[in-house]
Structure formats: structure tokens, C-alpha cells
């Protein structure tokens, strides 16, 4: 793993940390922007502060939990249907 291509700027932990910080700032900004733009909601629930933020996060978390639950029942080893021959 000593080839020169390995040392990409994305490989340095410091840069990854910077990306994370930037990401968090953008997250805060998108929620803060709610105060600046007209949202014209169709349903009452959309008017709750940061609706899309918490709804999106919650929906994703719920889907991951459901998927993990389903996996308990339906997960099988890779070669369940026999080995692939390619």
C-alpha cells in the first residue's frame, strides 16, 4: 500500500474531520434557512420547525431498524442457492 496513489487528500484523517465539520455546518444552515425562505406548506405537519430534517432522519433510522429486523428472519449465507460460477 505504499504506492503514491494511496496518499490522496481524502486519505488523511485531518481532512476527513474537516469534511465532517463542513457537513455539520451545512446541516445547521439548511435548518436555519427555514427562517429566510417562504416554505408554502401543504399540510399542517410541514409547519413544524425543521420538519424535513427530523422526518428524514427519523424515517431513515426507522428503515434501517426494519431492515435489520427483517434480516434476522431472512438473512442467509452467500452461497445459499449454490455457488456462483463466474
Amino acid at each position: 500500500m505504499n504506492d503514491p496513489t494511496h496518499d490522496h487528500w481524502l486519505d488523511r484523517p485531518a481532512n476527513v474531520k474537516r469534511l465532517w465539520r463542513g457537513f455539520l455546518v451545512v446541516l445547521v444552515l439548511t435548518v436555519a434557512a427555514e427562517g429566510l425562505v417562504h416554505l408554502h406548506p401543504h399540510f399542517e405537519i410541514e409547519s413544524v420547525f425543521g420538519f424535513n430534517a427530523w422526518f428524514g432522519f427519523g424515517a431513515c433510522a426507522a428503515m434501517i431498524v426494519v431492515a435489520k429486523g427483517l434480516a434476522l428472519l431472512l438473512k442467509r449465507p452467500d452461497g445459499y442457492y449454490g455457488k456462483s460460477d463466474d
Binding site: 424535513n52 432522519f57 428503515m63 427483517l70 456462483s84
Partner: protein, 561 residues
């Protein structure tokens, strides 16, 4: 009707057969030029019936144009051109011609004015797509193609029964709007839905598509499910059942894609997910919703092809297909990474990409109709798309841990195909008017309001946060998740074996206990009726005449009794 109009689908199909023996530069030129010629011909098809012919007692309309037909025929032809460019280096001599037969048939369905023509091209699509799968060449793909064909032949039989019943009932072969209120129309709807990847047979799609070659899956992703979307828009708009079928598909696709390890199977599940949005839109059935479904089919074909091109490039250059064996490819495949990521952003409906201007119309239609539950489900699903395809695919394939793989970029023709489709993803996202002008109804929708951009960014970025926060739960393992194909790969096979075993055992038991009696009976029958028996000997005319006389007398007697 009298003026000469070429059928773009037939041109592509016949061209595909002529293409097969070509070699070298001539072949390469033809592979790209042929679909573009078909595309030009699509735009020569006038509104209304262009070809008509009498067949049995019916007037068939094999070629007919309107905005909806042209929209789908356009994207099918465009897809064939892009896919052909991507597949220029394909070693298999069968795959591209088969794919063009497949694409030409899809165009044929889109431009068909009657149900008989729809059915003929529908079945031809099944043949073309099976050949695309087969041409991959491995035993695995051969078996997958066989299962795929079985499901589609079943769907074809159901559709045929429905069409026959419909024609018998109405005396009309025209393909117009129907309602599923009697058996015939229900069968047609089921036939259409099987090809759309709807439950319960949806597993045919993620089972088969990832077994095609690096270029084959790109073709497969585009035509079958989207012709199903087209026929549903034309045949069953506003059928409420479709809302719930669509929503089921949306979440089924997400959950299975989250558990999947094969990179192209993730994208296959995400086809079901995306088609679910379209089918929900068809179920809502307003002009906005149908426009949304049609527009989403158009943009989806482009970005899904782009995603599968990037996955195909990875497969070709590394020979690996599992997320658990990939990662860190951005080091040496920057162009593929960027193009794959653009596809991933487009499928997630990020602002400035094509998905943003199409999918949002379906959500808007749900909001306009005050369908709160449907709207909430669609919003949750939009978040889920980013989760299972938007981040998961590029993250596990191009980033995550460093797998140590350092593959080069794919050949130039593949890079060009990706660049063109990536440009289309962004182009349509930035400038949606050309697409909106093609839609079946007038568009009264503006995707770029600040409110829409901000809420969509919130939704997607917080979904992204959820992905990285919960990453430990998403780590890929060497596993598969059982789907409904288990019913025919395991349960059905086991049932067939059990029946065979029981029948064989029964026969053995029968032979053991009855063989002596049977042998005696057979010998007696042989003595009486065999070639040397009394019955087989030639009889004299007198005896025969006497026998007939007795028979006739008996008949006379019985008649008067």
C-alpha cells in the same frame, strides 16, 4: 395513413439482425448510428394512427403517435444509443443485437395503437432481454435467465388471457383507458404489473438483472419496467390500487437494498423502488401525477443507466461485484467515481439534477390531492432513496475502507457513455423545460422555489447524517436476503422433487404387489387380441355381413323399445 412512415421499432429490430455479422469500425459506427436513426424516426411519427391493417375481424394500428408514446419511444431510442456506446467493447457478439431487438420492441410497445400489437412486442421484449442475459455466458446467468424467462412467459400468458377476454367483451382491440372491473381487465393489469416488478413476483428483477454482463445490465435496467409504466399510464391511470402497490414497491426496494451486498443488486432493488414512485403517481392519476410518473421514467432511465455503467466499469476493471470486497476505488477511477456519484445524486433528487425536477411532481400531486398519508410515505421514501442508493452505492463501492484495489479507468467508449449520461442528468436538472415540453399534459409546475430547494436539502442531508451515524448497522456481510424467488427456487423445486419421489415410490410399490397380476392379465390380453390371436385373423365376408346384420337388428330392436 397513406404516406410513408417508417416504424422506428422495426427499423431497430431489423437493423439489429443486420448488425450481428458486422465487424470492426463498421459495426461500432452502426451500433451508435442505428438507435439515433430510430430516434429521428420516432419524431417523424405523426399524431394519430400512422399504420393500419385488417387482421381477422379487427383493425390493428401497429404504429400510432401522441405525446406520451413519443416521450417513451424517445427515451428508449436514446437509451439504446447510450447503452450501445457503452457496450462497444463487449466481446459477446449476441448481446448488443439482442439488446437492440429488446429496445426496438420496447419502442414498438410505446407506439402501438392496439392491444394485439402491444402483446406481440411485449413478448419480443422477453425474448430480447433473455438473450441479453444469456449472452453473459456463465452457468449462473443461464440459470437466472431461465427463471427470468419463466416469470415473463407466465406474465405473457396472463396478459394474453386478459387481452383475449377484453376483445371478446368489447369487440375492440384499441389500446385505450381501461378500469379493472372485470376479470379480463384485471388479468391485463396483472400482466402489466408483473413486468413492472410489482409484488409478489418482484424478485425476478433483482434475481436476474445483476447476472448479465457488465454492459448487459445497463440495457436490462431500462426497458421492461418502463414499458410497464408506459402501458399503466395509458391503460390504468387513476386506479387507486396502484398507489398502494407503488408505495409497497418503494419501501420493499429500500429495505432489501439496505441489506444487499452485491453492488448491482443494490441498484436492481432500487429500480423496483423508483418504479414504485411512478406507479404511485399513476394511481394518483391527476395530470400532475401522470406527468410526474412519465417524467420520472424518462430521467430514471438515464441516471439508472449511468449508475449501472459505473458499476459495470468497476465490475469490468476489478472482476468484483460485492461491496464487502470493494472500496477506495476513487484513487484510480476518479471519472467513474464522479459519474457514479452524479447518478447517485440524481436518483436521490438532489437540486440541480434530473431527479429533482421529475420525482417532486409526484409528491406535489399527492399534496395537491390532500393525500397526507401518501405524501408522508413518499417523503420518507425520498429520504430512503438517498440512504440506499444515493450514499450507500457510491460509499461502499468507491470510498469506505481501502480495499487496496487500484484498477485503471475503463476504456474510452465506456467513459464517454458515462460522461454523456452524466451531462444529461445535470442538464435536465438545470434546464427542465425541454423535458417538460415533451410531457403528455401541459406542465404547471415550477421545481425551483427556495422553499422546495431548502426542504429537499434538509431531507436529504439529514438522511445522509442518519447513514453515517448508523453506519455500523449497515456494514456489509457476505450474506443474501431471501426474497420471493425463494418460492420458485426452493419451495417450488422441493415440492416438485417431493411429487416425483412420491410417484416413483408409488410405482415401485405397485410393481411389487401387483406385478404378477398385471403380467397374467397382459398375457391373457395378448392371447386374445394380439397379432396371432383369433380376433386378429382375417374374417370371411360372409361372417362379417352376418355380424353387421346382427348389429343392425339389435339397433332396430333397441330403437322401438
Amino acid at each position: 395513413m397513406t404516406e410513408l412512415v417508417f416504424h422506428p421499432g422495426l427499423v431497430l429490430i431489423v437493423g439489429a439482425l443486420l448488425l450481428a455479422p458486422l465487424r470492426g469500425a463498421l459495426r461500432s459506427a452502426a451500433v451508435v448510428a442505428l438507435p439515433l436513426a430510430a430516434l429521428a424516426l420516432v419524431w417523424q411519427v405523426p399524431d394519430g394512427a400512422a399504420w393500419q391493417l385488417r387482421w381477422l375481424d379487427y383493425t390493428l394500428t401497429p404504429l400510432q403517435g401522441d405525446k406520451l408514446s413519443r416521450l417513451f419511444a424517445t427515451i428508449f431510442a436514446l437509451m439504446a444509443a447510450g447503452g450501445g456506446l457503452f457496450a462497444l467493447g463487449q466481446k459477446s457478439r449476441v448481446e448488443v443485437p439482442a439488446a437492440f431487438v429488446y429496445a426496438g420492441s420496447a419502442i414498438g410497445v410505446a407506439l402501438a395503437g392496439d392491444l394485439v400489437t402491444v402483446f406481440v412486442f411485449w413478448e419480443l421484449m422477453a425474448v430480447g432481454s433473455t438473450l441479453v442475459l444469456w449472452s453473459q455466458g456463465s452457468g449462473t446467468s443461464y440459470r437466472a435467465a431461465r427463471r427470468y424467462l419463466m416469470v415473463h412467459l407466465l406474465g405473457g400468458v396472463v396478459l394474453f388471457a386478459g387481452i383475449t377476454g377484453h376483445i371478446a367483451q368489447t369487440g375492440n382491440v384499441a389500446f385505450t383507458r381501461m378500469a379493472p372491473d372485470s376479470l379480463a381487465q384485471v388479468l391485463i393489469l396483472i400482466g402489466f404489473l408483473i413486468n413492472a416488478g410489482a409484488p409478489p413476483l418482484s424478485a425476478w428483477l433483482p434475481d436476474a438483472y445483476p447476472e448479465a454482463s457488465w454492459s448487459g445490465t445497463v440495457f436490462l435496467s431500462a426497458f421492461t419496467t418502463k414499458t410497464a409504466v408506459y402501458v399503466l399510464i395509458r391503460g390504468f391511470p387513476g386506479t387507486e390500487l396502484l398507489i398502494w402497490v407503488g408505495l409497497f414497491m418503494v419501501f420493499y426496494g429500500i429495505v432489501y437494498a439496505l441489506l444487499e451486498n452485491d453492488m448491482r443488486r443494490i441498484l436492481a432493488y432500487s429500480i423496483v423502488n423508483q418504479v414504485g414512485f411512478m406507479i404511485a403517481g399513476i394511481g394518483i392519476g391527476t395530470e400532475m401525477a401522470l406527468n410526474g410518473a412519465a417524467a420520472h421514467a424518462f430521467t430514471h432511465i438515464i441516471y439508472k443507466a449511468l449508475l449501472l455503467m459505473s458499476a459495470g466499469s468497476v465490475l469490468m476493471m476489478t472482476g468484483r461485484r460485492k461491496c464487502s470486497e470493494l472500496g477506495g476505488l476513487f484513487h484510480t477511477m476518479p471519472l467513474t467515481t464522479v459519474c457514479g456519484t452524479i447518478g447517485a445524486l440524481a436518483i436521490s433528487s438532489f437540486p440541480l439534477t434530473s431527479g429533482f425536477v421529475s420525482k417532486s411532481m409526484v409528491s406535489q400531486a399527492a399534496a395537491d390531492g390532500h393525500l397526507l398519508a401518501v405524501w408522508l410515505a413518499l417523503t420518507a421514501a425520498s429520504a430512503g432513496v438517498f440512504l440506499h442508493a444515493g450514499i450507500k452505492f457510491p460509499w461502499f463501492v468507491f470510498f469506505q475502507k481501502d480495499s487496496g484495489l487500484r484498477p485503471a479507468e475503463p476504456p474510452a467508449s465506456m467513459q464517454w457513455a458515462m460522461v454523456v449520461f452524466a451531462a444529461l442528468c445535470i442538464g435536465l436538472g438545470v434546464w427542465a423545460q425541454p423535458l417538460y415540453a415533451l410531457l403528455p399534459y401541459a406542465v404547471k409546475y415550477e421545481p425551483y422555489t427556495w422553499g422546495h430547494v431548502v426542504t429537499q436539502l434538509q431531507l436529504l442531508l439529514f438522511s445522509g447524517l442518519a447513514f453515517f451515524v448508523m453506519l455500523p448497522y449497515l456494514k456489509r456481510t457476505l450474506t443474501i436476503t431471501l426474497d420471493t424467488d425463494w418460492l420458485w427456487r426452493r419451495l417450488g423445486a422441493a415440492a416438485a422433487q417431493a411429487v416425483t419421489r412420491t410417484v416413483n415410490q408409488g410405482r415401485k410399490a405397485f410393481d411389487a404387489s401387483w406385478s404378477h397380476t398385471v403380467t397374467t392379465l397382459m398375457a391373457a390380453a395378448e392371447r386374445r387380441y394380439g397379432p396371432d390371436s383369433r380376433m386378429a385373423r382375417p374374417w370371411s365376408t360372409g361372417t362379417m355381413a352376418f355380424a353387421v346384420l346382427v348389429l343392425l337388428l339389435g339397433y332396430l330392436l333397441l330403437y322401438y323399445l
